[in-house]
Symmetry: C2
Subunit: 332 residues, 2 copies
């Protein structure tokens, strides 16, 4: 592999000059630029990114830490981040935290030790305090799906409470009065907020939140199914199941059918997130859109702007969930 030395020798200019054309610096005459480019071409020169990183103290890599690398939600997110980054010549180093605090911390250290120029984080278990502390370190971080007031510039989030509210409001507007709720794990902030929104909508309609018709799941499909079993065992009547995400909603749909009820006639279902398979389901799932792609893209742009000083882009931190009406809710 040719190095900058050989280019410099062949072109008959100094190392510095080669480096300057490599980095598109101002103050290089057209003539030397041509000579250098010709030499590079001839030698098939390719810059060694590691050497550049060491000398410039920039690795051009961005760490991405998510709960899991698979699953509909994270896939879209990573995809979106990578596209944006690569356009700018940066690369994404990905790793998973598995929703376990220890593992999440290790993930962060792993990425920092990899000399990432910045880290994008979407996790559940680490506390706000930890993240605030982390943000004081030398590696910039951006946080997805969580608003931490102390570092709100670095946060990209949706109004989960509003989402929860709108979902339930919609279902109430369809005439439903007895609602079951299948929640995400309440140690997760988003699960909590969605539940709060649900309660607010209930309140507003003068409906009571029924503890018996509440089930705390884990955001995974199976717990939607189990949730329905549990709910039905209570013998309490409900005409709709409000689910805190689409995966649980898909499980709930299965559960409902296993009890020989049909959707939406016997039991309506609403989800949250609008992951891509929500409209493969039958009936197609009514849900709240979570603009994860846009948020992911925005977080990448934030880094381009703040870490790499790329030309200004408009950055928006707060996103809004939107109702997507499909077929899983019936009017009563």
């Amino acid at each position: 592999m040719a190095t900058i030395y050989e280019v410099s020798a062949l072109a008959g200019v100094s190392l510095s000059s080669v480096s300057r054309v490599l980095n598109d610096h101002e103050h290089v005459s057209e003539k030397t630029k041509q000579k250098v480019m010709a030499a590079m071409e001839e030698l098939g020169y390719r810059p060694n990114s590691v050497a550049r990183s060491l000398a410039s103290n920039r690795s051009n890599s961005i760490g991405v830490l998510v709960s899991e690398l698979h699953g509909p939600f994270y896939g879209e997110m990573i995809s979106s981040i990578e596209m944006e980054l690569r356009k700018a010549g940066k690369h994404a180093v990905v790793t998973a935290g598995h929703s376990v605090e220890k593992s999440e911390k290790e993930g962060i250290n792993f990425l920092i030790d990899r000399n990432c120029d910045a880290i994008i984080i979407l996790i559940d278990s680490l506390s706000n305090e930890f993240l605030i502390e982390l943000s004081k370190g030398s590696t910039p971080i951006v946080i997805l799906n969580r608003l931490i007031p102390e570092i709100k510039e670095n946060c990209f989030y949706i109004d989960n409470e509003l989402g929860g509210y709108l979902a339930t409001k919609h279902i109430i507007e369809q005439g439903h009065k007895e609602l079951a709720y299948i929640s995400g794990p309440l140690f997760k902030q988003d699960a909590n907020e969605r539940l709060n929104g649900h309660k607010r909508a209930l309140n507003e309609a003068n409906l009571k939140f029924d503890e018996e018709l509440f089930y705390e799941g884990d955001f995974l499909t199976t717990s939607g199914r189990v949730g329905i079993d549990h709910l039905i065992k209570t013998k309490r009547k409900f005409t709709a199941a409000v689910c805190a995400n689409d995966e649980m909603a898909s499980g709930a749909m299965k559960g409902v059918r296993d009890h020989n009820m049909s959707i939406p006639q016997d039991c309506s279902v609403i989800g949250f997130d609008n992951v891509y398979f929500a409209n493969y389901l039958h009936p197609e799932l009514t849900t709240m859109n979570y603009p994860i792609k846009e948020m992911a893209k925005m977080s990448a742009q934030w880094i381009l702007k703040n870490v790499y000083k790329r030309p200004d882009v408009f950055v928006n931190n707060k996103f809004t969930p939107e109702l997507i009406v499909r077929d899983s809710i019936t009017k009563i």
Copy 2:
């Protein structure tokens, strides 16, 4: 950030010694080891991975190039690779090729320029010849989902033909005689092989392959739906739709329902891949299992063994698809 110099000074030993304990070399006395470790601890020393890479000519990063970073299939794959790699202290740099030849080539160059120690590739458009040529370069590559005889040691694949055969055989055994086939794009090797397997099963049962009941889709959901529309327009009768992957199968299910037919009574459906949402569908989708997780893990282990000379692991290149019977096929 403390460097190796400071550690060396504090511990009262030479740079080389510090480096040696850092890299777990033999020939370091217990005494100096202790001194060095204590110094590291005291300084909160963290090795600079970029500097290590430059000096050792190893970046400890593995490039992963796939068609898309999202989608059920690739998600599982990346997840599996990353877990295996990270256990070994290596990291994954991911990028997408979007099934476009030019873009796939760029992806490869991108990863090579990133000084990846090896690259894992799962793409569609690049030719075998190109990949053979690439494998002669200095960056080792491993190829998923394709068997290239000339470099078969570097390939991890399933027998797609067998899969296609088994799927169709199963459906024939249920009494179906009129089968429609929704294929993947035939420029993709796997799509082709699956189709061949389908034809072999047909042949074996003395059934004729009906060109009219064939539709070439693109492996995405929508084309399953469109495929069914097309098939129904032909007015040809068919009692089952064999789909070359699960995404198209889910689209096909939607299509069938849109025509007011029920699954599996009016039309049975079978998929391929067994992606995780296959059993969220209603009815749950009968499909062929594609052990992508195992294959991905194996490819990572191959790299650990061959590139990083980790202790021997058993490496298996060829995997077998297996029938997963669920509810989307009825007996006739």
